[in-house]
Symmetry: C2
């Protein structure tokens, strides 16, 4: 039997070992029901408890007051790219987007497909999306301002959110939700595919401010309206029960074992600093993102040659470090260090990186 590896996958990604062990131990008999979590009814008291516990933990972790709904949808962030303009654009008003990479670009394309008046009010495309745009001019006219809070492929992250003159922020937080403290106040909607910091693939966490629901057009298909999910506590139809259950377990781990978001952020900050220090102190590795905009979640870097990168990724895997290949669209290397990647895993990776640099310096 193979040991578990250090998993630096970009998503689906590492989950906390205690969560996996819990899933394993309850698989045949979920909490005295005599059934697996995969077999219980979504209308049962047991599942209601699972669902509401996950919601309440998310509320506490993110300090969400009663002005927000916490919903569970399907279809990933990719479906949200379409649902956001469909539900939240106001008649006669533009929708504003800030383009910081592949995922923003896709979100923009979906809004355009719906013939919305899309304005790309800032972009870092001029420098291969290696930074986060600053000093953006907000005119207060848009239905919403859409941003991607963390850019997994380019390794950049918004460290502070812009002041949008009262226009609601809409954020794709798929890759950094639950990793750090932020003020939810300015956000009209936050969405996140769970498969990075929150759980397995197959569920999307949607946090929506209640006043945004007034914008939802009546004539949308039932399953594409945020109101459908808000009115039925995500139980209009059968939800992805197992994925919601795992999200609940991850939230429980984050709250009860880690000690909450602030503690998690402290650990995440340490992990990122260790890796970026290793890169900056070497003349072998080179970070690809602008220093002030570097992601705490996805550390992107290059080696002197593509050949060395290939060797690095292979040798790392043989020593038990998985998932270090950069996204196929940009190449290079990437270590994704989401919440469930331990400090120890990063320490070991830094050791390996130092050794590899020493042995392979040209």
């Amino acid at each position: 039997m193979y040991e578990r590896i250090y998993n630096f996958n970009p998503g689906p990604a590492a989950l906390p070992l205690p969560v996996l062990e819990r899933i394993q131990s309850e698989m045949l008999n979920f909490r005295g029901t005599g059934m697996s979590i995969l077999e219980i009814s979504h209308r049962s008291a047991e599942f209601d408890k699972v669902l509401n516990d996950a919601i309440e933990r998310i509320r506490r972790l993110l300090s969400l007051d009663d002005s927000f709904h916490v919903l569970f949808l399907q279809g990933g962030a990719s479906l949200q790219f379409a649902m956001v303009p469909m539900n939240l654009s106001e008649p006669g008003k533009p929708v504003d987007y800030i383009n910081t990479g592949t995922w923003s670009t896709k979100a923009i394309a979906e809004a355009r497909k719906q013939k919305k008046d899309v304005r790309v009010i800032a972009s870092s495309e001029d420098k291969e999306f290696s930074y986060i745009p600053k000093d953006i001019n907000f005119d207060g006219q848009a239905s919403y301002i859409h941003i991607t809070s963390n850019n997994t492929i380019r390794g950049t992250q918004w460290h502070t959110f812009p002041d949008t003159k009262g226009v609601p922020l809409v954020a794709d937080m798929s890759s950094d939700i639950f990793s750090r403290r932020f003020d939810p106040g300015p956000f009209g909607l936050i969405y996140a595919g769970a498969q990075k910091n929150a759980g397995p693939a197959g569920v999307t966490v949607v946090i929506i401010r209640k006043d945004m629901l007034e914008r939802v057009p009546d004539d949308l298909p039932t399953m594409l309206k945020y109101t459908t999910f808000a009115e039925k506590n995500s139980l209009h139809n059968t939800p992805p029960c197992f994925a919601i259950y795992v999200v609940g377990l991850v939230m429980e781990w984050l709250e009860d074992e880690i000690g909450g978001i602030d503690k998690m952020e402290e650990i995440n900050r340490k992990k990122a600093e260790m890796l970026y220090s290793c890169i900056d102190e070497s003349d072998f590795y080179r970070g690809t993102a602008a220093r002030e905009d570097r992601s705490m979640m996805n550390v992107t870097f290059r080696l002197p040659t593509e050949e060395l990168e290939k060797k690095f990724i292979q040798e790392a895997l043989s020593k038990g470090f998985g998932g270090l290949k950069g996204h196929r669209s940009v190449g290079g290397c990437r270590a994704s260090i989401y919440n469930a990647v331990s400090l120890e895993a990063v320490e070991k990776l830094v050791e390996f990186m130092n050794d590899f640099a020493k042995a392979n310096r040209p």
Copy 2:
């Protein structure tokens, strides 16, 4: 530790015990990867194998030739209610629906919402959906004919599919796919939420005939086009990996342990006959569906009084038989006897039902 119960849930429903045990045993280290199936990349060779194995098994089990795609979507049958008319209605042609209950009614409502020219060409609403309409007049003019192959709430099922004069059939087979042999030829599209006969909640199996893809309008949102999933083998974005993995395991069980669809149908037929005999031979239980249209999957019945029904459900649960309550919209009792419900479970239920009738005859 509580034992596992006999699970007659309508969905999410019973899964084969060997499948659950397999999930449990591989949870911490999926087939030598050193990661859980919940942590591996959807772009990895390992997941590709999982995905393609599930597809190939579905092809073999249903005798699907190369004219069909097998796709995995999210959002349940409920999202298909909207996607079907969006993708498959042809300009200037009506879309025809046959109304056999709650789920058909919802499918019709979604097509109407999209302002399609919806014709309900047959309905069993006049007798509380207790039968399947016969001698339907098909005029050959429609884009497609939509049916619900099995009606979970009313306990009716199409035992033979109608000859639609060449117009493609579109079927919601959520609750009886993989339970019996049928000729896929007349079907343009088949969809099924997995959580009854195919796996856990959180994935929808979509089988689409390739020529139907030519109908898909270009300007639909990317995630709502069948072409998106067909062109990328369901990997346009992160799919619900775990749910697909479980579907694959259920297909493996069905193919390798049960021995395929014909064998499964034989067992299902035996199970249904046992239960319906118990009902018909008693003067205590009363079946609610027309005899010739009775479902092999959902056996719906009433007791002499609602009080006795309540007692029946409670006493059954205390003896280890779960999920026997009828749908909240119709009341009464229902035993869902999907593929994973064993002959033994049904035998035990019949014993219990006979005992209960004897003890409670008014």
